[in-house]
């Protein structure tokens, strides 16, 4: 009864919010529902026949979750998942409101959830995942997590309370705390360079042979070795950190089911891009390239993907950055000119750019006005790099939100 009330009230709140903010309002309805029925999430997850799978880590959660969900669905399983923007506690409840029935029950074989590291660690004891996929530990979001060692503690807690774990064996921040009997490893072939820059760790480096290994990276293609087989994929996600996300999802699916490998190759090659993960979308008659930059690693990668002649170019630093100091760890020096610098932290980004002698034409804090100014510009390669908050606001304003 209390669950029915929580779902009803949460849905009404969500409906009202979305009248005013199209594409918005995922967190607050979840807060309302969880305060009315704290067990709503755990009850929903327990109703899944084959259990809970969680994906957590500093980076790569959304992409890994997306591929894993697609692979399970391609094999005929019903999968309940949370939108990538709803990976904190309130968002997980909101996902139940959005996709569950009037009691908050879900019709699914698997629940596959992307978990924010901090919120996941708080939830894991009560939810006890069947499988945890742990991607990596970066020196990231220090304003929130203070030190990478505290992120390691949170991921270890998720690991400790899960039956089994899929682990990035290239990242010793993770391998230092795992039991080899309890993990399935994934990683990059030693020949692949450059390697991602995981959080600095001077401790021992346990050696684990990965069960799933990215063996070769090509131009819009990659190969992944699984036991007794080499898989080939056509994909734009061909950078080392992106290939690792794919390997993580494949390692997870191989632990959960008996995969049809031909179907795995076909499914991955046909996956649509996650919004703004180097996606080209038509906006007001222009083909605009969108690249999401969540942290220094993905910012650096996105910059490597664009030409120094890119024009017009807008870079946005949104309100999701509490302390924009980390922008100073990104090397923007390949750019000569940025037409629009946008987002709530636009001035901090512009200051960084100016100290690298990058010319900045306009600084506009509001995402809608920045988007309008950018779309008025002509040029052969309209491109937007933005952080998550700026992405959400821009996407909503331009009518690209679902």
């Amino acid at each position: 009864m209390i669950s029915i009330l929580a779902v009803a009230v949460g849905r009404i709140v969500r409906f009202i919010i979305r009248i005013f903010r199209r594409g918005g309002g995922s967190a607050f309805p979840g807060t309302v529902a969880s305060s009315i029925a704290p067990n709503l999430l755990s009850d929903a997850i327990r109703s899944a026949r084959k259990g809970l799978v969680v994906v957590s880590g500093s980076s790569g959660k959304s992409s890994t979750t997306q591929v894993l969900v697609a692979l399970l669905r391609a094999h005929g399983y019903k999968v309940f998942t949370n939108p990538s923007t709803a990976n904190i506690k309130q968002g997980l409840y909101a996902a139940i409101l959005q996709f569950g029935d009037y009691r908050g029950h879900i019709e699914a074989d698997f629940v596959v959830m992307e978990w924010d590291e901090g919120h996941g660690a708080a939830l894991v004891e009560s939810l006890h995942p069947r499988l945890a996929v742990l991607t990596n530990v970066y020196s990231d979001q220090l304003d929130r997590f203070v030190d990478p060692e505290l992120v390691v503690e949170k991921l270890k807690k998720i690991y400790d309370h899960s039956d089994h774990a899929v682990i990035n064996v290239d990242d010793k921040n993770l391998t230092q705390f795992v039991n080899p009997e309890k993990i399935t490893g994934f990683g990059l072939s030693p020949s692949i360079q450059p390697r991602p820059s995981y959080a600095i760790n001077f401790g021992p480096e346990p050696t684990f042979e990965p069960s799933v290994e990215v063996s070769k990276l090509g131009e819009k293609s990659l190969q992944v070795r699984v036991p007794e087989r080499l898989l080939s994929f056509e994909t734009k996600a061909d950078a080392p950190h992106q290939a690792l996300n794919l390997a993580a999802a494949i390692a997870a699916v191989s632990k959960l089911i008996e995969p049809d490998w031909a179907l795995v190759e076909k499914t991955v090659s046909n996956l649509p891009p996650v919004f703004a993960r180097d996606e080209i979308a038509s906006v007001r008659g222009k083909d605009v390239r969108f690249l999401l930059c969540l942290n220094p690693t993905s910012f650096t990668h996105s910059l490597s993907e664009i030409s120094d002649q890119t024009s017009p170019l807008m870079i946005m630093a949104g309100g999701d950055i509490s302390d924009p100091s980390w922008l100073w760890t990104v090397d923007f020096s390949k750019l000569k000119h940025v037409n629009v610098v946008g987002g709530k932290n636009a001035y901090d980004l512009a200051l960084r750019l100016m100290y690298q002698d990058v010319q900045v034409d306009k600084i506009i804090l509001e995402a809608d006005k920045a988007a309008d100014a950018f779309l008025e510009l002509s040029g052969p390669s309209p491109t937007v790099l933005f952080t998550a908050d700026a992405m959400r606001r821009t996407r909503r304003y331009l009518g690209l939100a679902k």
């Binding site: 220090l142 030190d147 600095i200 100091s325 980390w326 100073w328 760890t329 001035y347 200051l351 100016m354």
Partner: protein, 191 residues
């Protein structure tokens, strides 16, 4: 030739603290002042930066930090241009007489303006200590992370002047930076 020194920049760069070296280098370049940057010769440097390191970094390089304690103490005594940030601030404050004694305080993670005498400086604070800024002439020790010299023109000018740089910034750069700095400050402090 002005010599800018930075201690183990690869490791002591949490929150972009090494940006302070970039700021000084660019300010000197804009003024056509010759400079060099070193991460090995600290003794006769005009400026020394020891940035913030993670817990792992502080454990690993504790002896290397201890090895420059006398050198840092001499810079403190003479007020020579120095910037200690975050964990380096805490490390040297716990070892050097003349630096403030730090006590535990509730964690604060926010942009904050601090006062030291007539000087007002802002930056991002994210720690559990009670003293966030100390200055003796151009010797600065602070818990305010990131490119503090980029954001605080007054602090930057103190450091530049101590290195003998008194020339004005060319008008092109000055006119570009002023509104941006105002915007950074307004956003950070909500004014």
């Amino acid at each position: 030739m002005i010599k800018l020194a930075t201690f183990m920049p690869k490791y002591f760069n949490n929150n972009g603290d090494q940006g302070n070296i970039e700021v000084l280098a660019k300010q000197l370049q804009w003024r056509s002042v010759q400079y060099s940057v070193t991460s090995s010769e600290f003794a006769d440097s005009d400026f020394l930066l020891v940035g913030d390191g993670s817990r792992a970094v502080m454990r690993e390089f504790e002896s290397e930090l201890a090895a420059i304690t006398d050198l840092v103490a001499e810079r403190l005594r003479t007020g020579k241009a120095t910037l200690l940030v975050g964990s380096a601030h805490e490390f040297f404050c716990s070892r050097l007489p003349g630096l403030p004694e730090l006590n535990e305080a509730p964690r604060v993670s926010e942009h904050r303006e601090v006062s030291f005498g007539d000087l007002r400086v802002f930056g991002y604070r994210n720690n559990e200590i009670d003293v966030n800024f100390f200055r003796e002439q151009a010797f600065i020790s602070t818990s305010l992370f990131g490119p503090i010299l980029a954001k605080n023109e007054n602090l930057l000018n103190i450091v530049l002047a101590s290195m003998g740089v008194t020339s004005e910034l060319p008008g092109v750069q000055q006119s570009s930076l002023v509104p941006v700095l105002q915007g950074v400050r307004s956003k950070a402090l909500g004014s």
